[in-house]
């Protein structure tokens, strides 16, 4: 399927989802749906670096938080003083830009690192950034920052509906970008980095440059997902924004869904995100990470290639017939890509 058609199909699906959510008439759907969609973006973004290139990033929360705090900074700079509210898409672009630049910087600093060393470096980056934010009074420091969300916005009514729509469009944008990468020369290059960097270089692939592209795109998408978050949550504090939930979910969702295609993170995020929302309402939000842990262990043991891999095996079809041309999971049980 060509990209414009793919995009149109998903926009139609998105319109249907938004329409059904409006028809239900309960705004809680938008609150819960926003979180699920936010995880679709985060897991898709993580997968561009972690799944396609095989570089495990434990610092997703930092990129997400940078997007959120760039919104807070702009709110404090402009909105509080002039009462001018910058349009959300612009805030998202700024958040994406900030996180993308930090992603690029992280790429430069960690170019020679691989495997566990790269993962530890990303974790360290998250800690460093959290420390900076905690000590930056302008954006609230450790006290946190309040963002006053408008009650209504024309023509959607409640502001949460608008935020939901924005996140829905970002999610569609993210999966379109992921699919576009997957089917392009860039995607082939990423796959060679995942499989064997030495052989990739010998085949003419500029691995260092491609890694920078991956860290930048991945970081930018995470930042864009974080930018509307202060308006969603109302009160932003470092401990929750840099929380373990974002880092763990961003990794667990693609692993559960399948890491080598754009479908995997989408399935993982929809499944795990929805389960968490249901558990939050019916049991407690405290069980969310328990659910993630349980599913992650189960999938690592039973289906190390995720749901997409499980479907491949079940259908007994040639992998290239299913999702893309080359999306064949490495057949090593328990292997982190």
């Amino acid at each position: 399927m060509r990209t414009p058609i793919f995009l149109l199909v998903w926009l139609a699906i998105g319109a249907a989802v938004f329409g059904v959510s409006l028809a239900i008439g309960n705004d809680y759907i938008f609150f819960a749906g926003y979180v699920v969609l936010q995880y679709v973006v985060l897991s898709t973004a993580w997968n561009i670096l972690g799944g396609y290139c095989g570089y495990v990033n434990f610092g997703s929360a930092a990129f997400f938080a940078l997007g959120a705090y760039s919104t807070v900074a702009i709110y404090k700079l402009i909105t509080e003083n002039d009462f001018y509210r910058m349009p959300m898409p612009v805030l998202m672009l700024i958040g994406g830009l900030v996180s993308g630049l930090v992603g690029l910087g992280m790429g430069y600093l960690t170019l020679r690192l691989r495997g566990a060393f790269f993962a530890i470096a990303t974790l360290a980056l998250a800690v460093v950034l959290q420390t900076l934010i905690v000590n930056w009074d302008f954006v609230g420091g450790s006290r946190g920052a309040y963002i006053i969300r408008p009650e209504q916005i024309w023509p959607f009514g409640n502001y949460i509906r608008y935020l939901f729509l924005i996140m829905l469009l970002l999610a569609i944008g993210a999966i379109t970008v992921a699919r576009l990468i997957e089917h392009s020369r860039l995607g082939y290059g990423f796959a060679t980095i995942r499989d064997d960097e030495l052989a990739a270089e010998a085949s003419g692939v500029p691995t260092l440059r491609l890694k920078l592209v991956a860290t930048t795109i991945s970081g930018a998408l995470m930042g864009m997902a974080g930018a509307p978050f202060p308006y969603y949550i109302g009160y932003l504090q470092p401990s929750s924004t840099f929380g373990l939930d974002y880092a763990v979910n961003s990794i667990a969702m693609p692993l559960i869904g399948g890491t080598t295609s754009w479908v995997g993170p989408l399935i993982g995020a929809l499944l795990l995100g929805s389960l968490q929302q249901i558990a939050t309402v019916t049991i407690s939000s405290a069980v969310n990470l328990l659910i993630v842990g349980f599913l992650l262990v189960t999938f690592v043991i039973i289906a190390p290639n995720g749901i997409v891999g499980l479907i491949h095996t079940y259908l007994q079809r040639k992998p290239e017939d299913f999702v893309g041309r080359r999306h064949v999971e490495a057949d090593v049980p328990g292997q982190v890509p």
């Binding site: 270089e201 003419g204 080359r326 064949v328 490495a330």
Partner: protein
């Protein structure tokens, strides 16, 4: 004519003017790993269209030399010129773009990609970029299948590397190296672990590539293969070049006999 025991005269050779048909010129190359001297003052040149055999006992520095030429390792001393251009400081992929290709001692296929896609990588990242042309997906696909047919793997284009036998894996390595349309191919122990008939297969393939105009450096332990393939032989021992010349002459060199083949 043997140019053996060359280290003394290496400086002179490295400094001399490059003949117009010399494709690769390595001059006074040195590489150390900590205190261990892996390569010392290596100088050699390879003419376009030549078939050079590079031999030496384990640990003699053959693979280190290849890695320094291909950019996987950085040489600390000396220089490497390819097609008249200095390669020092260039990354491995940039050297591939210039026309330098290699196969690995242990096959390193892209395990999650099909055979056709393994071949597709150098086509997309080297050939297309070098020519500055955009090829349609159908053209790329056809070229992939052609190259696989050339090494006898045409019917396995949609299979994964894990489905291949050892000799097929070696052929895939060579096909992938050839896909970048190199001027020089360095085959690093492309016949290790193969049976006699499989060795014949690979040798025939290498000879065919050479006849198509590709200069080949063959690094090998299997002496019968090296002797039948090479027009010129270079011997490394303990990081030093001890002989360089026609294979028959080199094998008669007392120093080679003593250091490499035993008393």
């Amino acid at each position: 004519m043997i140019q053996g025991a060359m280290t003394e005269g290496a400086m002179t050779e490295g400094a001399r003017a490059v003949a117009p048909d010399e494709l690769l010129v390595v001059a006074n190359l040195g590489k150390r790993f900590g205190g261990f001297v892996a390569l010392e003052n290596i100088s050699l040149s390879v003419a376009a269209g030549d078939r050079l055999g590079l031999i030496g006992p384990n640990g003699s520095g053959k693979s280190t030399l290849v890695n320094c030429i291909c950019g996987t390792l950085r040489n600390e001393f000396g220089s490497v010129r390819f097609g008249g251009q200095k390669l020092d400081g260039l990354d491995a992929h940039q050297r591939t773009h210039l026309g330098l290709a290699r196969s690995f001692q242990l096959p390193r296929p892209f395990v999650s990609l099909t055979l056709a896609d393994n071949i597709r990588i150098p086509l997309l990242y080297t050939v297309a970029l070098r020519r500055g042309q955009h090829h349609t997906p159908r053209e790329v696909e056809e070229r992939c299948v052609d190259l696989l047919h050339g090494v006898g793997l045409g019917d396995k284009a949609r299979r994964l590397p894990r489905d291949l036998t050892q000799v097929e894996m070696r052929k895939l390595e060579l096909a992938r190296a050839m896909a970048s349309e190199p001027k020089l191919l360095i085959a690093d122990e492309a016949m290790a672990g193969l049976t006699h008939s499989e060795i014949e297969d690979i040798l025939a393939l290498l000879v065919r590539l050479n006849e198509q105009g590709v200069t080949i450096i063959l690094i090998e332990h299997i002496m019968s293969a090296v002797m039948s393939f090479s027009r010129r032989l270079v011997v490394l021992v303990s990081g030093r070049k001890i002989a360089d010349g026609p294979p028959a002459d080199v094998m008669r060199d007392p120093e080679v006999e003593r250091a490499y083949l035993g008393q």
